[in-house]
Subunit: 304 residues, 2 copies
């Protein structure tokens, strides 16, 4: 089996494993699948869940897409050559009902570039997972980061600190005093095979990160989904979801690139939260749990 | 009184006239004023209303700002020279509680450009008003457009059709099959004095447009604010508000320019609706009033 087939098979099986585990955790809602095709080449499987006991809205999507390299792609993806491209990845966002359960996002993808003769000329991996809590439980933050640090350390002890910083530097609402979308995780991109780290190394690292999603996230959901919450907690969650919308629509390169290059709008915008509030100049009370969360987003810290 | 002072005085008085009329229409909520200053020069008066009988959230803002011409401004505002700039304008967005009352936006501004010696080298006016209903009442659409057509016709019979088309072409969610944000209105920009249309012409035209806001909008509010509505109507309003958020954060040049050049975030984002829903692949029922509204947004028509 070649690299491409290996990765596609991994991604599609990961989608099924994750959906199965999330349905079991939810206990009520089931994923609904929309298969779609892209005129320019390829397609995807969008699986969405809504109205669950645990998950108010979410999507676990995969796509296997290809086409000709366009001018927009050259700019956006920093490509300096190539005639045709291929990409396969999984992208997931979950918005829980309970404000004590954090929102999570992850994305793992492989990208290939070919010349006019359809010969492979470049290939790279990218991905990451990040957590967006509405209330800060430090033990949850530590568990989440520790899980990914363990994965990173198995491959290169320098990875975690680098990829953790990438994540903190990427998910930033620059228009809100550099407030982060959440408490981060890991993020890496343009990881190309080298002499010391060949294609199998990056393939295995990306698979290990993908495999870490369920052990990183599910124990937190199981612990917090039983917390009782008030209207005030829900209100705060909806205010913070507003920040999530702001980041995704104003700053997220993937979202904007997809929307501006004829991507499948509904699959891209499945990332948006189900109910959201925008209030003029909303400020959490001094010394409150809400302010504590906001401060953790304003000043990223080391959790492990 | 010079042109600049004349315009500032007009804009600030317009703000007060509009707020007074909206408070009277609402009957409960009052505007709260936040005065702010800008480190680079000037400041503004942000007046926000929320939790009213009629207006769930809204803002009527003015600003009088100036500074040095930056590289970002040259690109964004298509300026090809100048050392210093001045701008004064009013910007308003109102999000009514009742889904049968439309959301409205308007903005009227004057921009001046100076050389190194602080001599005026250029000046232009821009502005417009557009309506975003959740249910389509054709008589309301006609009243709104007729009011602005009457204003336009007093100045130049070619204006209305040009400025109406500008508006239809601007407020477009290109990522949603070119669905418009609403049913339009008028929009004009970069209107500079010429031999036939001098500075007084444009000043008077802009004032006439500003004066037309209340007669264009308030009769619609008065007629529809007493309609009773269901949870289903409110749900649809919140879905459509999602489209409003998408346009403002993904496409609106003014919003993005403000957020990316250190504008006052809270004043800029007062435009966002109070409560919003995002649902995967939401489709109104065939033949429903909801679908009728969506079709009016997909296919702009002539109302007068």
């Amino acid at each position: 089996m070649n690299i491409k087939e290996d990765w596609i098979q991994y991604i599609e099986f990961l989608q099924t494993r994750i959906c199965t585990a999330l349905e079991a955790c939810d206990g009520k809602a089931r994923f609904i699948e929309d298969k779609w095709q892209r005129a320019e080449g390829g397609g995807g499987k969008t699986r969405v869940i809504s109205g669950g006991n645990v998950f108010e809205k979410g999507g676990v999507n995969t796509s296997v897409v290809f086409g000709n390299v366009s001018a927009a792609m050259k700019t956006q993806l920093k490509i300096d050559g190539g005639a045709r491209w291929f990409a396969c990845g999984l992208s997931l966002v979950l918005h829980p009902l309970n404000p004590f359960v954090p929102t999570v996002h992850c994305n793992y993808r492989m990208f290939e570039l070919y010349n006019e003769k359809n010969e492979l000329i470049n290939r790279w991996f990218g991905g990451g997972t990040d957590l967006t809590p509405y209330y800060l439980f430090e033990e949850d933050a530590r568990h989440f980061h520790q899980t990914y640090k363990n994965v990173c350390d198995e491959f290169d002890v320098s990875f975690y600190s680098t990829f953790k910083k990438n994540c903190d530097d990427y998910f930033v609402n620059t228009h809100r005093n550099n407030e982060r979308r959440g408490i981060g995780g890991i993020f890496y991109d343009y990881q190309k095979p080298s002499e010391k780290k060949d294609i199998n190394f990056w393939m295995n690292f990306s698979k290990a990160c993908g495999d870490a999603f369920l052990p990183a996230y599910l124990p937190i959901v199981e612990k917090r989904k039983i917390c009782s919450f008030t209207d005030k907690n829900k209100y705060w969650q909806e205010i913070r979801r507003g920040r999530y919308v702001e980041f995704n629509l104003i700053h997220d390169r993937g979202t904007l690139f997809g929307l501006k290059t004829n991507g499948r709008t509904e699959s891209i915008l499945m990332s948006l939260p189900p109910t959201v509030r925008f209030e003029y100049n909303y400020q959490p009370q001094k010394g409150s749990e809400e302010e504590k969360l906001m401060n953790a987003c304003l000043h990223p810290k080391n959790w492990v």
